[in-house]
Symmetry: C2
Subunit: 518 residues, 2 copies
C-alpha cells in the first residue's frame, strides 16, 4: 500500500486514506468536531412488508439472496455468542459458494471460532475485516496477507462509525437466541440465551437490510424486543445459532496467582485510600481473573464499611450479580453477560439493565455514561512512560486483540491499569508502546506487582495519596525496574506496509499497525 502518511497529534504516522476512503488523523482527545449529519437509511414502507408480519424465509442463503448480496458489500455480525457463534462462518461459506467477491466483514468482535474465515480471506470472498482481528486472524493480517486494510474500532467507535455513515452496512446478519417471525428478538431467553443484543443495535437501526437468524422462534410478540422487528427484513430459523457452553466464555474465576492477587489488593487499597469507594460510587471491573479479584476486594471493603455503589458497569458475571442481589450495588448497567448468572439476572431483575454502545459508549452522542464511572479497571499489553497504552498488538508487533470497550472506558473518572511489570520476561512498561490504542492523558494509574505509578496530570490523586504506604513510584522507576530484571526489550522488525489502523472513539486514526517481518 503506498498511501500518504501524516503524523497525528500523538506523533504516530497514519494514512490519509484507507481502503480508498479518506480518513482523518487523530487530533487529540475531544479536539475533532464533527460538522455533518448522521447517516440516513432509506425510508421503508409497510406496503412492502407482509400484513401478518411473517418475514420468515427458508434459509440463510435465501435471505442473503433476497437481501441482494453482491460483490463489495459490507456484511455485519455481532459477537454476543462469543466463541460459540455459528452464524458468521456460514454467511461467508454461502457467499463463497455463490462466487461473491470482495466483501467487507464488519463484526463487533471475532473469536477463535472464526478461524474458517481465513479461507474466505484467502479466496477473495472477503476483502478485509473492520473489527477485532484476534488470534489467527490477527496473525494473518500482521503478516500482510489480507487484501484490504484492517480497521479496528472500539465498541463505541463501531456505533459511531455506523451512525455517522463511515461504515455503511449493506446486510446485517443478527443471530438471536429468541425471535418472532416479525423479527423482534432478544438475548435473555431461549436455549442459546446470551443475555443481550446491544452490539447489534447500530446494525439494526442503520443497515440497509437486516436478517435475524434464530434457533428459537416464538409467536409475536417476542418480549423484551431488544431488537425491533420494525427494522428487520427477513427472519431465518436454524437448528442452532450458538453453542451455549462456548457462549459463556472469558475467565470466570478469581485469580489464584499471588502476583495478581497482590495487584488486585493494591488496586482496591488505593481506591479506598483515595476516597473513591464511597456511598453512591460506580465502578467497572471486567471479566479477567485479576478484575474479578478486585471486585471481590471492593465487595469486602463495602461490606465492612457499609458502603453501597450506585451502579456497576458490566460485563456481568456471578460475582457482580451476587453484589447486586446482596444490595451492594443498586444497578448493573450491562454491556455483555459473561456467564449464565448474568443472563438469568438480566432476564429477571429490572435493576440489571441491558445497555448498548449507544447508551454507554458512543462518543458522537450528547454524552454517554462511560464518563461518569468513578473507578474503571482495564488491562493493557504495554504502557509507555507517557502513560499511552496498547491493547491491540503484542510487543512482537503482532495484532492479536480487539479494542472492545477499552477506549470508551478511558473516559471514566479514575482509570486504573493493573498490569504485571513484565510478561514472559518482556517488560510491559516501555519507552514507547508498539501501538497506541489510548492516549496517556486519559490513563490515571498503573498498578504493578512491584509498584504503582500515578499520572502526573492527576495532581489531586498524588496529593491524596502522598502519605500512603502503598509503593507509589514514577512510571520511569517502574520501567527501569522492569529493564533491570529483563533487560532492554528487543524491538520487532516491521515492513512499510500498513496492514491495519486503530481508530479513536471519534473516528480519527490514532495509530497504524505495520506488517511484521518474520
Amino acid at each position: 500500500m503506498s498511501v500518504k502518511l501524516v503524523k497525528n497529534s500523538i506523533g504516530r504516522m497514519v494514512p490519509t486514506e484507507i481502503n480508498g476512503k479518506k480518513s482523518v488523523p487523530f487530533q487529540g482527545v475531544g479536539k475533532y468536531h464533527p460538522d455533518y449529519r448522521k447517516f440516513a437509511p432509506k425510508v421503508a414502507t409497510c406496503a412492502d412488508f407482509p400484513d401478518d408480519g411473517n418475514k420468515l424465509v427458508d434459509d440463510l442463503k435465501t435471505a442473503l439472496i433476497k437481501a441482494g448480496l453482491k460483490d463489495g458489500m459490507t456484511i455485519s455480525t455481532h459477537h454476543h455468542f462469543r466463541n460459540g457463534d455459528l452464524v458468521a462462518n456460514q454467511i461467508f461459506k454461502i457467499a463463497s459458494d455463490l462466487g461473491i467477491k470482495d466483501l467487507v466483514w464488519y463484526p463487533s468482535a471475532s473469536f477463535p471460532c472464526h478461524e474458517p474465515i481465513l479461507e474466505y480471506l484467502e479466496n477473495g470472498t472477503i476483502n478485509h475485516i473492520e473489527g477485532s482481528m484476534n488470534g489467527v486472524l490477527g496473525r494473518f493480517v500482521s503478516e500482510g496477507n489480507m487484501k484490504g486494510t484492517g480497521v479496528l474500532r472500539s465498541h463505541g467507535g463501531r456505533y459511531q462509525a455506523v451512525q455517522d455513515g463511515d461504515v455503511q452496512i449493506d446486510i446485517a446478519v443478527l443471530a438471536a437466541p429468541i425471535a418472532d417471525p416479525f423479527g423482534n428478538a432478544n438475548g435473555v431467553k431461549g436455549p442459546s440465551a446470551c443475555g443481550l443484543l446491544g452490539f447489534a443495535l447500530a446494525d439494526s437501526q442503520y443497515a440497509d437490510k437486516v436478517i435475524i437468524v434464530t434457533d428459537h422462534l416464538i409467536d409475536f410478540p417476542c418480549i423484551p424486543w431488544q431488537i425491533h422487528g420494525n427494522y428487520v427484513d427477513y427472519v431465518v430459523k436454524v437448528d442452532k445459532v450458538g453453542i451455549p457452553e462456548k457462549i459463556i466464555s472469558g475467565t470466570t474465576r478469581i485469580t489464584k496467582s499471588p502476583d495478581r492477587l497482590l495487584m488486585a489488593e493494591m488496586t482496591a487499597k488505593l481506591c479506598q485510600e483515595a476516597g473513591l469507594i464511597k456511598d453512591g460510587f460506580s465502578f467497572q471491573a471486567g471479566a479477567g481473573g485479576t478484575s474479578l479479584a478486585i471486585a471481590d476486594f471492593f465487595a469486602k471493603i463495602m461490606r465492612k464499611e457499609n458502603i453501597k455503589a450506585k451502579f456497576a458497569r458490566g460485563g456481568s458475571n456471578k460475582y457482580l450479580v451476587q453484589m447486586l442481589e446482596d444490595g451492594l450495588v443498586e444497578y448493573i448497567l450491562d454491556g455483555q453477560t459473561f456467564d449464565l448468572d448474568g443472563v438469568r439476572s438480566m432476564r429477571d431483575n429490572p435493576n440489571h439493565v441491558d445497555t448498548s454502545p449507544f447508551t454507554s459508549y458512543n462518543y458522537h452522542g450528547k454524552g454517554n455514561f462511560a464518563s461518569f464511572i468513578d473507578i474503571v479497571i482495564l488491562g493493557a499489553t504495554e504502557v509507555d512512560v507517557n502513560f499511552n497504552a496498547n491493547v491491540n498488538t503484542h510487543s512482537d508487533g503482532y495484532l492479536l486483540h480487539g479494542i472492545g470497550g477499552w477506549q470508551n472506558c478511558l473516559f471514566g473518572r479514575n482509570v486504573i491499569l493493573p498490569i504485571p511489570l513484565f510478561r514472559d520476561r518482556i517488560p510491559v512498561i516501555r519507552d514507547e508502546v508498539t501501538t497506541v490504542t489510548g492516549p496517556g492523558e486519559l490513563i490515571d494509574i498503573i498498578v504493578t506487582e512491584r509498584g504503582i505509578a500515578i499520572n502526573p496530570l492527576r495532581k489531586d490523586l498524588l496529593e491524596k495519596l502522598k502519605d500512603s504506604n502503598l509503593p507509589i513510584k514514577t512510571i520511569e522507576e517502574l520501567k527501569e525496574e522492569a529493564e533491570k530484571i529483563c533487560g532492554k526489550p528487543v524491538l520487532p522488525e516491521f515492513g512499510d506496509d500498513i496492514v491495519a489502523v486503530i481508530k479513536w472513539v471519534d473516528g480519527t486514526i490514532i495509530d497504524s499497525v505495520r506488517k511484521v517481518i518474520k
Copy 2:
C-alpha cells in the same frame, strides 16, 4: 389561501402546497412509495457535553434560550400528561414574553388545558399547529382564525413525518415524571407518573435540541430509560410537570346506556360468531364506555370458553390490567396508560409492555404490529355508504378531534366501528362524510344499535355470518333507517379557505378541512 387544489384518489380536493411546502395527494392505501432517505440529525460529540453528565439548567426559559429559540422554529411536546399538562403553555408564554414570532407547535395531541394557546395564536407567537386541534383550538381553526394551515396526523403519521423529515423539530420540550440530570427519563415512576413516554420517542431521536422537564429528579441512572439521555441537551427541574388527577382522564367506566350496551353486546357476539375470539387472538378496544363494555363482554366469553388472548393493544385501564392479571391476555402492548392501574401494571409487570408509535404504528417502517391485531374497535363521528369514516370534524363542519392512533389501527384484521345510528337527531351514517379520515376499504364492520353493516369487500365475513341471528343489513339500509327517523341531514356551509389538512399514515393528504361559515 389561494393554493392549487387537486383531486386525490378518494375524490377529495386537497392542496398541493401547505404552509409553503409541497405536499402529495393521497394515492390509495399502500400506493405511495417513498423513494428517499430518513431525516439525518446533526452529529453531536461528547466533547460538547459535560463529562459528569449534568445537563441541568436553571429553568425552562434558560433552556429554550440555550437551545437557540428563534422566530419560525418548530417546537414539539407530547401528550402523555393529557389534560393535566403544565408544560406546553409555559413554553409559548416564555416565547411570547421574548417576542418570538411564527412558531409551529407540534404536539402529539392537545387538550382543553391548552386553551391558553389561543392567546399565542392570536398574538403571532404561534403561526400554526401541526397536531390534534380539539375543542376551543379546533373551533378557532375552523372559523379561519389561525395564521397558517393546520396539519393533522395520526400517531404513526407523526412518527413518520419526523423520521422522514417532513417535520423538522428544532426544539423538543419533553415533560417527564422522573429523570436524571443526564436526561434519561421515564413515565412509570415519580409523583406525576403517567405510564410511558412513547409519543416523545421520535422527538428525542430526531429533534435538533431536546429539553427534558421534570418534577422528580433523581441521580443517574433513571431506569427504565424510556427516553435516552444520550439524545438530550438540557434538563430542567420544575415544581410540577402535570396535575396527576387530570393525567388520568378519558372515560374509565363501562357504559350504562342501554343502546351502547346493546352495541357492545352485538359487537362481541359478532366477533364470537365470526370465529375471531379464539386462542391466541389479539384485540384493541380503547377507553370509551362502549369499548370498555366490549372488552368486558370479550372477557366473559373468554372465561366461559377458556380462551386466552395472545395480546391486547392498549390504551390500558383497570379492566385490561385485570384481564392480564387473570391470565386472559398474555401481553398488553400499551401506547398510553389511561389510569393508575395501567401505570402500576406497566411499572411492575414485564408482560405489560410500553410501545411507541415506532413499534406500533409507523407506516414508513419495515412493518408495524397494528396490522396483526385481530379485532380492532374504533369510533367515528360519521361513516358514509362507502364505509369511509370521519373522526376529525362534526357534521356541522367543525374540527373538534385529533386522529390519535385511529388511522393506524385501521390496518388491523377486523376493524369494527360500534357507533350510534344518530347523535342528537343527526344521522351518523351519511351519503358522504364531512371529512375522510380513513378510507372505507379498511373498515370492515359498522355496528349500530339498530343493525350491523359488513363491508361488501369482506365476503369471508358475510359468508361466515350468513346464518347469524344478528341484525345484519346493508349500509344503505342503515342510512335510510337513520334518515327515516331524523330526516335528511342539513349540510354545513363552508368557505373556500382550507384551514387544515388531514394526512394519511404515509404523509399524503387524504382530505382538507374548510372554514366554517357561521
